[in-house]
């Protein structure tokens, strides 16, 4: 049984959206976090600034790695395996949660869509293999 075409199209659409919004959204997040780090370091001392910088660096690294994954996979979606789909779906979900908390709404929406699309794709692959 072949993979449903609509799911593959949804995945491609979600990946394109992720790449587009990810580039812009994460750049603005980078600027915002730099400002917050400066403010925190000024008010509470360097340790608070460093702690926030570490957290935001983890978030931005996670975000950019999903963007990079989407950029790589958009050309050959058939290379996405069930295990990688599950892994990146979870990463995208976490990134979406953090983005929503930091009011980065466009990127949060695209990440959620990517997580959903990857999850559906993993299920579709499972059904096709049985």
């Amino acid at each position: 049984m072949a993979v449903k075409k609509s799911v593959v199209e949804l995945l491609k659409f979600a990946m394109a959206l992720e790449v587009a919004f990810g580039m812009v959204g994460l750049l603005s997040a980078l600027a915002l976090s730099a400002a917050v780090v400066y403010l925190l370091a000024y008010v509470f001392g360097p340790v608070a600034g460093a702690a926030f910088a570490a957290l935001s660096a983890a978030y931005i690294a996670m975000g950019y790695s999903t963007v990079f994954f989407a950029y790589k996979a958009i050309k050959r979606p058939e290379l996405v395996k069930p295990s990688t789909a599950i892994l990146w779906s979870r990463v995208a979900l976490i990134a979406a949660g953090v983005s929503a908390l930091s009011a980065n709404l466009l990127y949060a929406a695209s990440s959620t869509l990517l997580a959903l699309a990857l999850y559906l794709y993993a299920k579709e692959l499972a059904k096709a293999a049985t």
């Binding site: 295990s83 990688t84 999850y119 499972a126 293999a129």
Partner: protein, 197 residues
């Protein structure tokens, strides 16, 4: 990890902590055990452990490179020429794929006895596995206690095999549930974060 038992097995098993799975002659059992069987079925999607792949076609080290879940096609791609043909025809491997999707959730508190090695390999990631007759990673010599062990009591049970889609759901939510089921771990994480901030 599979632990090979030697010595007085019927004295060791009643004292061992549940959940556990045991494979070997059933006359070595003592106490109450679920005798687990699985229905017929073959599949090409699942997460057979390297041990199961080793048991079926002797290619465990190739299966180690794959992350669960995977398909038979993915496994074939990692195998060298000679083994690939063997794997393509292997009914045992297809059975291992099918059994690897066993649902371990109802067995969380049980002591399980299986007479199918593939079912043992499928349950091994979720509970401690003790065997007689299959070489394991570690060996344990059990000494006999003073009291005679209670007579064996086997209750028949049918293993639930998840459908491929349910299995994806199960893997997707497994670690999250593990974290929620262990509130101490969450508290520890939060405590560490609080100290950092």
């Amino acid at each position: 990890m599979i632990i090979e038992l030697e010595g007085c097995v019927s004295s060791f098993l009643p004292a061992a902590q549940a959940p556990l799975v045991f494979y070997g002659p059933s006359n070595l059992l003592a106490g109450r055990f679920l005798h687990l069987r699985a229905g017929d079925g073959l599949s090409e999607f699942g997460a057979p452990t390297p041990k199961a792949v080793e048991y079926c076609i002797g290619a465990g080290r190739y299966a180690k490179r794959l992350n669960p879940p995977y398909t038979l096609k993915e496994l074939l791609e990692t195998l060298p020429e000679g083994l690939r043909e063997k794997a393509e025809d292997s009914v045992c491997l297809r059975r291992a794929f099918y059994l690897s999707r066993v649902d371990p959730r109802p067995l969380r508190t049980a002591k399980v006895y299986v007479d199918d090695p593939l079912l043992l390999f499928a349950l091994e990631p979720y509970m401690s596995a003790y065997v007689v007759g299959i070489p394991g990673d570690r060996r344990k010599r059990a000494k006999c206690g003073a009291d005679p062990p209670p007579p064996p009591q086997l209750v028949d049970a049918e293993a639930r095999i998840l459908s491929p889609e349910e299995f994806v759901d199960f893997l997707y939510t497994r670690d999250v549930l593990k974290l929620l089921a262990n509130p101490l771990l969450v508290l520890k994480l939060l405590w560490r974060l609080r100290r950092v901030l």
